[in-house]
Each structure stands twice: as structure tokens, then as C-alpha cells.
Subunit: 206 residues, 2 copies
């Protein structure tokens, strides 16, 4: 009576530390795995097929898209990116929880096709805190940073359409918050139909 | 920006150990309090006004009912029992989580009036396990036990209308499960409107 794993969709503004939280979740939980995207862009040095991305040709990508094999897709700078459904469904069927790190538009597209998925917005304690973090990186110009803050406002403005919001003020606390959400979601009656059916079986035969 | 406390509605068949789980929740969590019912029946030895029950006259009860001061009520053996709304709302406004232990019909009546409340069904590992527990008490006849099992089937048959189901196989595990539900519910965007609004405030003024 193994229940399916959960699909956890994580979004949040650039600079919020989503990646670090995801790494920490993976490190602490054997049962969690990450969805790998598919892309038509060329692999960069050090990138590993099936780990960094599934690298495919443009023709292959478009054919998979047409066959409905992608949960969502987007297009940046002439390259396609998408979420292949098969590996994700396979992991979930085996009971693994799958994390999909994706932007708000991708998140809503996936939620529509997988309504049981759990939408989690990772948010900074405040926009000024996010600005400080971006400045601290010393990799972006002031202009780029303000562009990112503008984008962050757009994304955080969609938070109310997410199931949960987790403030990333401290990596460990944010990781525990996501773990708590996973544990509680597993207790939802909507995910425990089989258990509830079994409960109602009266095995009295004495 | 203190958020309201949660209203947790706990139901479950007689003999499942709800009371023990509630006691353990109270003992471990300062922030949790229990809703006290109002009744027209006479106090029994040792019962304390405002702790065991709010004891009122029939006239008083009916007048409160008419004024809409009760979230739900029921009638057993000529006595009225009900859940007064005011003390519960007051505790929640102060940030306390309130537990209301009540049967399935009462639970649905309260959920209708307080749609933000969280419905948790405490269930036994199986009906035969519940039967063993009831037999172990040595206080009920075989007939009464089978009556209770019949009632348990009815209650567990409503589990799908609850938000969560917690199996009480072990008191500590069941208590932790309820604590996990509380922690996750607090992270729901629907309960964090103020936080999300504040997040969007850009305090840049340098």
C-alpha cells in the first residue's frame, strides 16, 4: 500500500537561495529527488547528461513537445527548456518526492496538469534583504540588480496562488519548513484514500 | 503582525485515544489550548466550571443558541451540549491554537461557520485494533463494544471530508503528527496574507 511520492514545485526570486535549500533537502532526505530539465542548448563544461540537464536536439525537443511528453516548456535566447513528465512520474510512482525548481509561469502550467502537486514559494525576509544579498554577490551591476528586484516583485506578487510560503532567513529553518510541509501533506486525507479504505475493512472473524 | 491562532477540530471513534493525544499536545505546547463546551447537565463531583464545562441553565443555553453564540449544539438524554464561540475566538485572536474535540456532525457544523478551521481525524490502525482496545478496558459488554465499532465505521467513513487523518498507533507519533500539521498550516499562504503584503513593500530609499 505504498503511496505515491509528492511533486513539490519550488519557486522564488533570483538570489533568494532556492538552490541551497534544495541541496540541503537532498542531502538530508534520501527520499527526495530533483526533476532534471530538458534543453536544446549545448552542454557547458562540467555539465552531465541526465544530471545537469537532458540535452536534446531542437527536433527531438519539438517532437516530444508535440507528443505531450513535457509538462511545461519555455524559450530563452533561441533555446528551449522543458520538464519531461516520464522520469518525474516514474520517481513519484516509486514513492520518491520530486522537487521541481521553476519560475511562477512554469509552476502554474505544471500545477494545471498535476493538480496534486504542492506549490511552495521561497521568499526573502524582505525586498531590501534580497537587494542586499544581490549586491553582496558583487557580480551584477546596480541596473541588473534593480531589474531582478522588479522581477522579484512580480514573482512575490503571485505568492497568494501558491500553497505555502517559506521565508529563507536561515537555510536550516527554511529546509525544516519544507520538510514539515512534506510530512503534513503526507497526512492529508486526499493523499491517503487507500489507507482510509483499508481502515473501514472490518476483519472480525472470531 | 501577529497571525491568528488555528482552530483544530479533532474527531475520532470512541476508544481511539483522542483525549490522550490532546493532553499530550497541551503538555508539550504552551500555545495550544482546548475549547470548553457548554452544557445544561448538572456538574458531577470534581468537575470545574470553565474547565470541565461551562455549566448553564436550560433557559440560558437556549437564549445563547437563539443569539447565535454557539458554533454548534447537540442534545443527549435531555441535556444540551454546545460550543460557545466567544472564548474560542478570543483565544485565537491572541494567537493561541485552539483544539475542539467533537464528533463528525459537530465538526462539519463548525467547519461551515469557521471555514479556516483544520479538520483532523484521529483513527486507529485498524478496526480490529480498536475492538481490542475497547475489550481491554473491560468496562463495556460485547454488545456495547459492537455498537461502538458500528459507530466507528460511520465516523471513519466520513474521514475523506477531513483535511488530515492521523493514525494513533503510538501516542508520541500521533502527537508529533498533529504538531507537524499545525506547523505546516501556519506556512499556508492563505493564512499569511499580511506577511505577503509586507513582503511586497519595497523599502528602498537610499
Amino acid at each position: 500500500m505504498k503511496e505515491n511520492g509528492l511533486l513539490l514545485i519550488l519557486s522564488g526570486p533570483s538570489g533568494v537561495g532556492k538552490g541551497t535549500v534544495v541541496d540541503e533537502l537532498i542531502r538530508r532526505n534520501e527520499n527526495i529527488t530533483v526533476s532534471v530539465s530538458m534543453t536544446t542548448r549545448a552542454p557547458r563544461a562540467g555539465e552531465v547528461e541526465g544530471e545537469s540537464y537532458y540535452f536534446v536536439t531542437r527536433e527531438d525537443f519539438l517532437s516530444r513537445m508535440a507528443k505531450g511528453e513535457l509538462l511545461e516548456h519555455s524559450n530563452h535566447f533561441e533555446n528551449y527548456y522543458g520538464t519531461p513528465k516520464a522520469p518525474l512520474s516514474k520517481a513519484m510512482s516509486s514513492g520518491k518526492d520530486v522537487i521541481l525548481e521553476i519560475d511562477v509561469n512554469g509552476a502554474f502550467a505544471v500545477k494545471e496538469k498535476m493538480p496534486d502537486s504542492v506549490l511552495i514559494m521561497i521568499a526573502p525576509p524582505s525586498l531590501s534583504d534580497l537587494r542586499d544579498r544581490l549586491k553582496g554577490r558583487n557580480t551584477e551591476t546596480a541596473e541588473v540588480i534593480e531589474e531582478r528586484i522588479g522581477r522579484a516583485k512580480f514573482e512575490l506578487g503571485k505568492a497568494h496562488r501558491y500553497d505555502y510560503v517559506v521565508i529563507n532567513d536561515d537555510i536550516e529553518e527554511a529546509t525544516i519548513a519544507v520538510e514539515t510541509i512534506i510530512a503534513a501533506e503526507r497526512l492529508k486525507t486526499s493523499r491517503r484514500r487507500a489507507l482510509i479504505c483499508n481502515l473501514l475493512e472490518d476483519t472480525k472473524n472470531d
